[in-house]
């Protein structure tokens, strides 16, 4: 199995001196749906930003599909941040054109089909859409790419249960075979059903990394139950 992500002694220290990612060594195999799990402040978003090239590591190295972070790795990654990153003055179809222009793997038909499924008019400006629909448009853009590596930061945080179902369905039904999904969340019960592997982070270090099947067999409990137990212990 190919390796999609490799971190070697990866460390990120912010100005406050606290390491958000602390000497992390990690290899992620391609073709899996991996949950990046951990409580707030465990380093999930920092790790994701370094993978996407939005933060520069303090030390160590990070490779995506064997390449250091750069234009080539950015072409492989389809990134969904934990906040809206689109220009609100743009129309939905203009944003689709924008993505199609830059990403060779962008599938316009898939994007328009998903928009039609939601009843969103592509001629609408983003600022006229509700917050929920703006987030869905963003998800549609990200999942309309035939990317090798989907990096999704808290895609289901702050949305209602019906929207969560839509988001998870959109993710699962649009990932091509062989592609990897790294999905960060602390709402494990909602995503556990789609996860194949779970990567637990605590204080910027790996607390646990295994397949969800192994975790359930070994521990005799769900990933969500283990998460609650493990982090409750660490919290004391």
């Amino acid at each position: 199995m190919n390796e999609i992500l490799c971190c070697r002694d990866l460390t990120k220290i912010y100005e406050n001196g606290r390491p958000a990612i602390d000497n992390l060594n990690l290899n992620l195999n391609a073709g899996r749906i991996i949950g990046l799990l951990g409580p707030n402040g465990s380093g999930k978003t920092t790790l994701i930003k370094m993978i996407c090239g939005l933060l520069v590591p303090t030390s160590g190295a990070l490779f995506v599909d064997g390449m250091p972070v750069g234009p080539f790795t950015r072409a492989l990654i389809s990134y969904l941040p934990d906040q809206t990153y689109l220009n609100h003055w743009m129309r939905v179809d203009q944003i689709i054109d924008y993505f199609a222009d830059f990403y060779a793997d962008f599938d316009m038909r898939r994007a328009y089909d998903m928009l039609a499924g939601l009843g969103i008019d592509p001629r609408q400006k983003l600022k006229t859409l509700s917050k929920g629909n703006r987030e869905k448009v963003q998800l549609i853009l990200v999942m309309s790419r035939h990317a090798r590596f989907y990096v999704l930061d808290e895609p289901i945080a702050g949305v209602d249960p019906a929207a969560r179902d839509y988001i998870l369905h959109t993710i699962v039904s649009n990932v091509d075979s062989g592609a990897t999904v790294l999905l960060s969340t602390h709402l494990i019960a909602d995503v556990e059903g789609i996860l194949q592997e779970a990567l637990f982070l605590q204080n910027g270090r790996i607390a646990l990394y295994d397949s969800t099947e192994n975790i359930r067999n070994r521990e005799g409990k769900s990933v969500d139950e283990l998460f609650r137990e493990v982090y409750r212990c660490w919290g004391n």
Partner: protein, 272 residues
């Protein structure tokens, strides 16, 4: 990819930029007709109506200058906001994850911004020229040669070399302005919090250094040259040397700003 970045940069900016440029062109054309109408004052006697008309010309001229200033500053502020939002606010999550060289993101901003700043600078020059032509036309033909002579006297009969330097400086100035602003915003984003305040502090610092350096160049040289008296002062040489110094200083400062922005964007990117 640079071409695509430039294309989308133009798509994002053309509406407001063209509107501002249209305002500049309108001000210029209006100025031409207003100044051209000054000869109508010749037949008027010195009465209340004349005083009122002259006052309205003065008021118009003040509004004209303010209008031109506002449009030029508006252009710069818009480009500044666009640069900040597109790179260092949440929009940066998209900008910096595009499959392009980080340097090309900066190049696209500089090229597009340069075109718009150059256009507004050019239209400002045309606007002033139109006003001067309008004013010139209000004088009898016999007086025009005297006016030109007086103007050249004022400039100290500078040679063509000085005009060439002026043109080079005018071409360089928009680029250095953009680099200065981009530099301050990029340095500001290094702050963990209060990034905009950081950019403002940086701009004030750069402005103070610029003022000191340009004052030393221009006034220092002028005071030195005037030691031998006004009659011996060589205006042409003064302009030429000062412009060269300004050019070199601007080019060096712009080069430093460019290198620092490149370094920050590739090594110190700090998107919260």
């Amino acid at each position: 990819m640079l071409g695509k970045l430039i294309k989308h940069e133009f798509l994002a900016t053309w509406r407001l930029m063209l509107l501002l440029d249209a305002v500049l062109a309108g001000i210029g054309i209006f100025g031409f007709f207003v100044m051209g109408s000054i000869h109508n004052l010749e037949g008027l006697e010195n009465n209340d109506a004349l005083g009122w008309i002259v006052s309205s010309y003065v008021l118009w001229f003040i509004l004209y200058m303010l209008g031109i200033l506002a449009v030029n500053i508006g252009t710069l502020i818009f480009l500044m906001i666009r640069y900040y939002r597109n790179l260092y606010s949440t929009e940066g999550y998209l900008t910096f994850t595009l499959p392009v060289e980080t340097a090309d993101i900066l190049h696209a901003k500089l090229i597009t911004g340069y075109v718009w700043l150059f256009a507004s600078g050019f239209l400002t020059a045309v606007s002033v020229l139109l006003m001067v032509v309008g004013l010139f036309g209000a004088f009898p033909a016999s007086e025009r040669a005297e006016i030109v002579e007086g103007f050249m006297e004022l400039l100290g009969h500078v040679g063509p070399g000085v005009w060439v330097l002026c043109v080079i400086y005018a071409l360089l100035y928009p680029l250095v302005s953009l680099l200065t602003i981009a530099f301050c915003i990029s340095v500001g984003q290094l702050w963990q919090k209060h990034k905009i305040a950081g950019a403002v502090v940086c701009y004030i610092g750069v402005h103070i250094v610029n003022r000191i350096v340009t004052t030393v160049f221009s006034f220092g040289r002028m005071i030195n040259g005037l030691r031998g008296g006004l009659a011996d002062f060589e205006f042409g040489k003064y302009y030429s040397v000062t412009l060269w110094e300004f050019l070199i200083y601007s080019a060096v400062a712009g080069g430093i700003f460019y290198v620092v922005i490149r370094y920050i964007n590739s090594h110190k990117l700090n998107l919260d």
